[in-house]
Amino acid sequence: MTPLVLYLHFMVYGFLCFGGGYMLIPFITADLVHGGFLSAADFANLSSIAQITPGPIGLNTATYVGFLQSGFTGALFASLGLVTPAFLLVISALKLLKRYEHTVFIKGFLAGMKPASLGFTCAALLIFAGMSLFTGALPLGKWLKGEMTGVGIRWGAIPIIVLAVILLKKSKLPFPLVLGICAVCGAFLLK
């Protein structure tokens, strides 16, 4: 694919990924595999590295696919394509929010989305816990159906979380340093 096609292709994804990219990443990658842009082996490789590399996970996918398709420019155009819609949408949303501040629609939007966005964040918390504190994703769906499947706990994670909470709340340490301390503790306690 030429860089321009990559740009347009990923721009469409940019318009489609609701709920913050990474919930729809499996869908997007499956679509790319289906369309023949990504081999199944590359896909498996990608999902494992995207989780543990820094930065937005959706962007990692775009860069990886773009690079495989047409090198450096491909990677650049695919990533830029993914973020272009965000510029249009976020800035127009900000303007609409200000202009129609006092209407029922905006008030209702905020009334509904404020608790909902907290719910999304709590769900993300559970996903993160499944990758560190527990040995796998929490089988919430099964628990609700009454099936008692257990999940392993990494005991070493608990003191790290407690330490991080204390450092973030009580000390004046900047958060990168706190995360650094967590990384060092993790290297020994969670390896």
């Binding site: 913050g20 543990i52 930065g55 996970i57 990692n60 495989l68 209702g108 909902a116 996903i127 909470v165």
Partner: protein, 200 residues
């Protein structure tokens, strides 16, 4: 002490230095957080609200509603939102570039076949360190949720909404777009019913 400093918002000077600070802050946030969107969100709160005090927690919860509703990556959406709020277009552009750069660089190196990096990432100590960072991120997100929850969860409606969203995503794996549409519709219904009740 927390309560005293909470209300004080610092308005940064609007010049090219602000753009540079936005770029470097997002570059820093995106390079040290693993796990994507929500991790970056909690880090951005730590940086811009707790440390620099450029925005209030109220602004932050409004930002959450917008960037989750609008399609796109949370990290990039929040960079654009904060950048635009603080310094219009140039702020949005530099913040987004800062958020973009780390993952583009790292993934490009991996895709280019630098097997040294893949080997490094698979080292058990490195994997342990990543899990350690995730623990720190859990602490950051947890503190954010508690703080936001205190001011935003006031009625049974709010509690139902948060519970449905948690289960909808973590247990039933619903499409987030459906949850978002439902939340907005329920919110509009609630506000318009409340208005009618008040008028009578």
């Amino acid at each position: 002490m927390d309560g005293l400093q909470e209300e004080k918002i610092i308005v940064p000077e609007k010049n090219w230095r602000l753009d540079l600070v936005l770029f470097l802050s997002f570059l820093k946030i995106a390079s040290i957080t693993v796990g994507g969107g929500y991790a970056i969100l909690a880090a951005a709160r730590e940086e811009f609200i707790c440390r620099r005090r450029w925005l209030s927690d109220d602004d932050f919860s409004e930002m959450m509603t917008v960037i989750i509703t609008v399609p796109g990556l949370l990290a990039i959406n929040s960079a654009i939102y904060l950048g635009w709020k603080l310094h219009r277009f140039s702020g949005a552009l530099t913040a987004a570039l800062g958020a973009l750069l780390p993952s583009v660089t790292v993934i490009m190196l991996i895709a280019a076949g630098l097997s040294a990096i893949t080997g490094f990432l698979q080292n058990p100590f490195v994997q342990g360190a990543f899990k350690g960072i995730l623990c720190g991120i859990i602490a950051m997100i947890g503190l954010t949720v508690i703080k936001m929850g205190k001011s935003n969860l006031k009625s049974i409606f709010d509690w139902c909404m948060i519970l449905i969203c948690i289960l909808g995503i973590a247990a039933w794996h619903w499409n987030p777009a459906i949850l978002i549409a439902g939340a907005i519709a329920a919110g509009i219904l609630k506000v318009s019913l409340g208005k009618r009740g008040a008028a009578q």
